[in-house]
């Protein structure tokens, strides 16, 4: 991926539902604003130290803006991967090959759910740091992760999309 250099990121606490910021439509951001660039770096740093975390969006650290990061490299369900990257103001411009799959969320740590997502998407966005406009075509698990994070930026959780009354599952607690 064409990721520009980002500053060193700090680890931020991840907030969990219920929290109003998780259900608020995020504001668009200026990708060359230093605070936005720092937040992109912080999200990546926080994602990287969180076990099993393949994506993190600004509302999950309490900031209602349209920034998120994704990294599905090495994930068994990933097909196409673009590395670890952050996007601002992302929009889905094409979506096809809809398919149900199980997903979880750091902000809803006790539940998972079956959610239908497009298996192939085209996303337009701008990169934090350079402000460069990019178009990303991807599929499989990376496409699912991008849709999940873009939903966060629109104030939506996977709970808003689960397939039915029996499509949510309590995570096992291993003591």
């Amino acid at each position: 991926m064409i990721s520009p250099e980002l500053p060193e990121g700090k680890i931020l606490p991840v907030i969990t539902a219920p929290a109003s910021v998780l259900s608020t439509v995020g504001d668009e951001v200026d990708p060359i604003d230093p605070a936005v660039i720092q937040l992109a770096a912080d999200l990546i740093a926080t994602m990287k130290i969180s076990p099993g975390c393949v994506g993190l969006a600004a509302p999950q650290v309490g900031i209602g803006t349209q920034i998120f990061c994704v990294n599905v490299v090495g994930h068994p369900k990933a097909v196409t991967t673009h590395g670890a990257f952050a996007l601002c103001n992302a929009k889905i411009i094409e979506a096809s090959r809809w398919k149900a799959g199980r997903e979880g969320c750091m902000s809803v740590p006790d539940l998972t759910g079956d959610v239908k997502r497009a298996g192939r998407i085209v996303v337009s966005a701008v990169l934090p740091g350079s402000g460069e406009a990019v178009t990303i075509t991807t599929d499989g698990f990376e496409a699912r992760a991008l849709q999940h994070e873009i939903d966060h930026c629109a104030g939506k959780l996977f709970l808003d999309r689960v397939a039915g009354a029996h499509a949510i599952y309590q995570r096992k607690v291993y003591l």
Binding site: T16, P18, L157, D160, V162, A163, G164, A165, I168, Q170
Partner: protein
């Protein structure tokens, strides 16, 4: 042919479903529709079966220790209700009294019939997912009513069409 509606509830333990199914099989009960789930450590099973009389089924289930059962004879379903449109409602937010009542009352007010519902309380997060059959064209107005109810309750609500592709 007797059709019976049976509920069995008790603390969950290994083998409880097998015990219930076996007890009913021994009196010739044929399980048609059934659901079984765990609710905060309680085993909860609801089923429809045909075959035995209500007293026969009651006697068979009496032998099971530690469970509460109810057996009632019911009339077979008149005709499967399949008109209307299938929708899904999601509600999530801080737990508070009356969420299920308020949301389901709105669905009923729109002429909707709830066909499946589950709720979960995990930490302080309350989640309700309901499936409902709505009269054709009733979705938009219900969405507005749900939005008002949700904002009074301080929770988030989403109403969307259920997916029903045949593959």
């Amino acid at each position: 042919m007797h059709e019976l509606a049976i509920t069995v509830i008790g603390p969950d333990r290994t083998g409880i479903v097998a015990d219930v199914a076996e007890a009913l099989a021994e009196v010739g009960a044929n399980l048609t529709d059934s659901t079984m789930t765990r609710l905060r450590g309680h085993f909860a099973m609801t089923l429809i079966c045909t075959g035995p009389t209500a007293p026969e089924a009651e006697k068979a289930l009496e032998a099971l220790a530690g469970v509460t059962t109810a057996v009632r004879q019911v009339e077979p379903e008149a005709s499967p209700g399949d008109d209307g449109e299938a929708w899904v409602v999601s509600v999530h937010g801080a737990d508070r009294l009356g969420i299920v009542a308020a949301v389901t009352r709105e669905v009923a007010g729109a002429g909707g019939n709830i066909t499946d519902l589950s709720t979960r309380l995990v930490g302080s997060l309350y989640v309700l997912i309901a499936e409902a059959d709505l009269p054709v064209g009733a979705g938009e107005e219900l969405a507005q009513h749900l939005a008002v109810a949700a904002s009074e309750l301080g929770v988030e609500v989403t109403l969307r069409r259920a997916e029903s592709e045949i593959l």
